[in-house]
């Protein structure tokens, strides 16, 4: 009996809260591993005897347990730092505990032969924005001129070549590592997409310290968040130009801008889906600009991107239900094969 869905996430994940409830309503069992409580709140065991693999995990507070042979689908959602029984492990012991637990967890999960939304290896391969742009261009998307460099002279040349405005953004995280240091050690707390100014260029020599990512600024008529769930495509039109706060970077939710459903052309619909599937992903959230000339310009794909905020702002999108159906179908399909 493989009809169980395993959800890997953290305890702050509202998406997972809702999904557990949806799956239950459909008669599907789920088991949730909150990584920020792992391994502290779980008992795990994996045995290999005579080429037979058997593993189980028990959530101690709820006394629920699942046999890994009964898992038919996995939904990988969000990461978190591990938590151990003792919160005062010395630094080296903590470092070892982290890496050993990481190894144990992945040894368990990677042994699963089931439906994945998404498999960690697919996520890992799909993360890199510099690679995404090249792939997107090969697949027919327009992409912005961009530069990744630690050479100040290259930045100066790029700014000259672009002629119009140039934007700068962090490739890895807009929090700039703030979450990794104590609050009183934080010198900056974040940086959204930013237009490069003459003042910024006074400091261009400092790109030698850490490589940087520059892009030509693309004028926007509006933006699209295209979320792919399996074969389903949900395109949300974001009226980012309605507010000064969201003109450069739409992710300022203090601005009340309009979101609505948008009909992609058939060609663009297929292209978006193919792009996500090209990484063996079952899920992806793509950011696309539509220019005043109605050209579509690819910005990036987020293999672990959030989607509940889109469903909240475009209520006719049944994204959560669609995803639940994929997990259920995947688990049942796997179950019927075994």
């Amino acid at each position: 009996m493989s009809e169980n869905v395993l959800i890997i996430t953290n305890s702050a994940d509202l998406h997972a809260d809702i999904m557990v409830s949806l799956l239950k309503d459909e008669g599907m069992n789920s088991f949730r591993i909150d990584l920020d409580a792992f391994p502290r709140d779980f008992e795990i065991s994996k045995e290999i005897h005579q080429n037979q693999f058997r593993a189980s995990i028990r959530h101690i507070p709820s006394s629920t347990e699942i046999d890994f042979n009964d898992i038919g689908a996995v939904w990988t959602r969000k990461p978190a730092d591990f938590t151990f029984l003792s919160d005062d492990l010395i630094n080296q012991e903590k470092a070892y505990a982290d890496q050993e637990t990481d190894h144990v967890l992945n040894s368990l999960l990677y042994s699963l032969d089931c439906y994945w939304m998404n498999h960690p290896l697919a996520v890992r391969s799909a993360l890199w924005k510099g690679e995404q742009s090249i792939r997107a261009a090969k697949m027919g998307f327009k992409i912005p001129m961009s530069l990744i460099t630690n050479k100040p002279e290259s930045v100066r040349q790029f700014v000259e070549e672009v002629k119009d405005e140039v934007i700068f953004k962090a490739m890895s995280s807009p929090f700039l590592g703030a979450e990794k240091v104590a609050e009183d050690e934080q010198v900056v707390t974040g940086l959204g997409t930013t237009i490069v100014t003459d003042d910024h260029m006074q400091n261009v020599a400092s790109v030698k310290e850490v490589p940087c990512y520059f892009q030509e600024y693309i004028a926007k008529k509006f933006e699209l968040r295209v979320t792919i769930i399996g074969d389903h495509v949900f395109a949300a039109k974001i009226h980012s130009q309605q507010s000064e706060l969201t003109k450069i970077d739409f992710r300022d939710f203090s601005a009340e801008i309009q979101y609505e459903s948008f009909d992609l052309t058939d060609e663009m619909n297929v292209r978006c889906r193919d792009f996500v599937h090209s990484y063996d992903l079952q899920y992806g959230a793509m950011d696309i600009i539509v220019t005043p000339d109605d050209e579509y310009v690819f910005l990036e794909n987020n293999p672990g991107g959030e989607f509940l905020f889109v469903q909240q702002l475009v209520p006719e999108f049944n994204m959560m239900e669609t995803l639940a159906n994929y997990l259920i179908k995947g688990a049942k399909c796997y179950s019927s094969k075994n």
Binding site: L35, G192, F253
Partner: protein, 58 residues
């Protein structure tokens, strides 16, 4: 005060963007984070830190 050395941090110290702008309104779920890596290890997990759970984005 100006101890930062990288272009990124120098821009961040002067740019209008800050964490207040970067955070979502209460009640609106997190916006499009890129998963850096699914499980803890040698990577960065900005999007999923409970400290940012009230609406952090990336």
């Amino acid at each position: 005060m100006e101890k930062v050395k990288s272009f990124t941090f120098k821009v961040a110290k002067t740019a209008d963007s800050n964490s207040k702008q970067l955070k979502a309104q209460n009640g609106v779920a997190l916006a499009g984070c890129s998963l850096k890596e699914l499980f803890p290890g040698a990577y960065d997990y900005a999007c999923a830190q409970p400290a940012h759970g009230d609406g952090a984005w990336c």
